[in-house]
């Protein structure tokens, strides 16, 4: 088995937007920093007018490598 310096994880992040909107973002990255910037990029891509992200937090990471690693995201009706 080869020695790994970095491992890739599936990250779960939570974003609070200015208007109080909550987003859960899932990204693949091999460091916490990259997870944050990937999440920001994804949020940016997701919205037309750039949203103001009030708070962005990383709440969970799961190592990839096994089929089916994932998250369940609870959503609510608007």
């Amino acid at each position: 088995m080869s020695e790994e310096q970095t491992e890739t994880y599936l990250y779960k992040l939570e974003a609070v937007l200015e208007e109080g909107r909550l987003l859960t973002v899932v990204v693949l990255a091999n460091s916490d920093e990259r997870a944050f910037s990937a999440a920001e990029n994804n949020i940016l891509r997701h919205t037309v007018a750039p949203p103001h992200i009030k708070e962005l937090s990383l709440v969970e990471k799961k190592p990839i490598g096994r089929q089916g690693v994932g998250y369940v995201i609870e959503t609510s009706h608007f």
Binding site: M1, S2, E3, E4, Q5, E7, E14, D32, E33, F36, E40, E55, L56, S57, L58, V59, E60, K61, K62, P63, R66, Q67, G68
Partner: protein, 538 residues
């Protein structure tokens, strides 16, 4: 290699990948491979499928994944003799950078081990009747128990022989080395639920029943508890179990888990999912089919919950003899401290050291005339205190980023520092249990803390900052997990924030009211208001 068994689920096409790995080669077979191959040929020689199986040997890769392992040693029922303690200390010194952790399930954990050292460590453990085997993996883990068994004024019978029988029956038993998932047992006859029954897969708690005119002391049986991201409280079966039936019932429950537990998805495999689907009634019916008729429930002898804490000097069941409950802040000590603890156990007690699920230790059988000298020992005065300060004494923490690959934040040192800060800042004369964890897996049992702190990373203009979500009101007294507040507190503010929250509780509470009960009485909304007002002024 042992002959491969033809399990009844072997042909199920929907098995998860790990199940296929386990069918290909039993987890226990990795022990032989470690001893004969990997410990000689080194880390590079490890087959990736065997890396998963290392858990059956009780070892697990630590963070960073640079070839070091953590090892968990089983301490059945939390009882260890001084000779064993010295061997553990020497292993830590020789191979584990001097570090010994007492865990939330009464085990002892090492870090920094290399694969080359494992064969020697297995031998050293075996020489004193200890083992790391099946301390991790999909198998019966360390059996939790009452570290006061045999001397406890609050126990209705001595569970030591039962722990020994269970350990003997399950350890390295290939009938049960391939379970759908990890499997945690606890047995205690302490009436204050010393072994945290409701958060184990299978638990035995004290009970009595009059059968054919004779009063029998035995157990009630709980199944399907567990923490992690989806915590469940165990359900009590309508069963009374005589002491001589404990192994039979444990075998039955474990067989049900093995044969009917779910193997399709690892996230849906713990016994709790089977219990949730079947319900306690059907579970009992199936159990009876396997083990024969069992008496229905008797009188429950559980009264409240001691939290797993035993601080101070207390008289034992045996008049004139005392036990000493000591505080080991967040469960961490170095090898020399463990050696010193072994000396104290020999010199003052009967050589036994108890490990507690609160990450603490105790010493048993101290005669009255030795107590004063014991209390004056430097290790007791300076480090493992009999009466620790409130917050240091009731702080529990998981491993965190220091060694854990799943951790989002640092925990152990942080919890220690936080507890020190709170002890300096807030005066409180009743215990307030704070549990800290670095990710949702909950190794530090966040859900049962009066206050549970769970790590997250927050992005700020100056970079990533560690933070904690706040959960309140957990207890096993009237079993209830703590609940999340709307507050994610960055670590620079965590100490002052908690100090204020606790100060508000102090002002509001009824005489001696523990925090969990206070939360229950005033309600979560009231606590959220407190949080909001603290955050506004922060």
């Amino acid at each position: 290699m042992a002959e491969r068994k033809q399990w009844k689920w072997a042909d199920d096409p929907s098995l998860n990948k790990m199940e296929l790995t386990k069918l290909e080669k039993d987890g226990l077979d990795v022990i032989e491979t470690i001893v004969n191959t990997y410990s000689k040929e080194g880390f590079q020689s490890i087959e990736s499928s065997d890396m998963d199986r290392f858990k059956w040997a009780g070892v697990y890769q630590q963070r960073p994944k640079d070839g070091h392992f953590m090892m968990r040693v089983r301490i059945p029922g939390g009882l260890l003799n001084s000779e064993q303690a010295r061997v553990l200390a020497k292993i830590a010194e020789d191979y584990g950078r001097d570090l010994v952790d007492v865990t939330t399930r009464q085990a002892v954990q090492f870090h920094w081990l290399t694969v080359e050292s494992l064969a020697d460590i297995f031998d050293r453990l075996a020489a004193v009747g200890l083992s790391s085997f099946e301390a991790c993996g999909d198998c019966p883990r360390t059996i939790m128990g009452n570290p006061l068994a045999g001397i406890d004024p609050h126990e209705v019978l001595d569970t030591r022989p039962l722990v020994a029988e269970l350990e003997k029956f399950f350890l390295l038993n290939r009938e049960f080395s391939n379970l759908p998932r990890k499997y945690k047992m606890s047995i205690s006859a302490n009436i204050h639920n010393a072994a945290h029954a409701q958060i184990n897969d299978l638990a035995f708690t004290p009970a009595k029943k009059t059968i054919a005119g004779e009063e029998v002391i035995g157990f009630h049986v709980w199944v399907g508890g567990g923490l992690s991201a989806k915590p469940y409280l165990a359900k009590k079966l309508d069963v009374f179990c005589r002491p001589e039936e404990v192994v039979k019932v444990a075998e039955g429950v474990t067989t049900l888990f093995r044969d009917y537990g779910y193997r399709q998805k690892r996230t849906h495999a713990r016994l709790k999912f089977l219990v949730a689907d079947w319900g306690a009634e059907k579970f009992k019916e199936e159990l009876v089919k396997l083990v024969g008729e069992l008496e229905p429930q008797g009188e429950d002898l559980l009264q409240g919950w001691n939290g797993g804490y035993f601080y101070g000097i207390h008289e034992q069941k045996q008049k004139g003899l005392y036990y000493a409950g000591l505080s080991v802040p967040v469960g961490r000590m170095d090898a020399s401290e463990l050696v010193e603890l072994a000396r104290l156990a020999d010199e003052y007690g009967d050589g036994t050291i108890g490990t507690c699920n609160t990450q603490n230790v105790l010493i048993r059988n101290i005669p009255k005339d030795k107590i004063a000298a014991f209390q004056a020992e430097p290790l007791i005065v300076n480090r493992f205190k009999l009466q620790p300060n409130t917050f240091v004494g009731y702080a529990v923490s998981c491993t965190g980023t220091e060694y854990c690959n799943l951790a989002i934040v640092e925990t152990k040192e942080r919890m220690r520092a936080l507890a020190l800060y709170l002890d300096e800042t807030v005066e409180l004369d009743t215990p307030l249990r704070i549990h800290m964890i670095g990710c949702p897996n909950s190794c530090g049992q966040r859900q049962i803390g009066d206050i549970g702190l769970q790590g997250a990373l927050v992005k700020t203009p100056s970079g990533m900052v560690e933070a904690f979500d706040i959960h309140v009101g957990g207890t096993l007294e009237e079993p209830q997990f703590n609940r999340k507040l709307n507050a994610r507190i960055t670590v620079d503010k965590l100490g002052p924030f908690l100090a204020q929250l606790i100060t508000l509780y102090k002002a509001d509470r009824l005489e001696g009211e523990p925090y969990w009960r206070y939360v229950e009485r005033v309600g979560l909304e009231r606590i959220q208001e407190q949080v909001d007002s603290i955050l506004q002024t922060a």
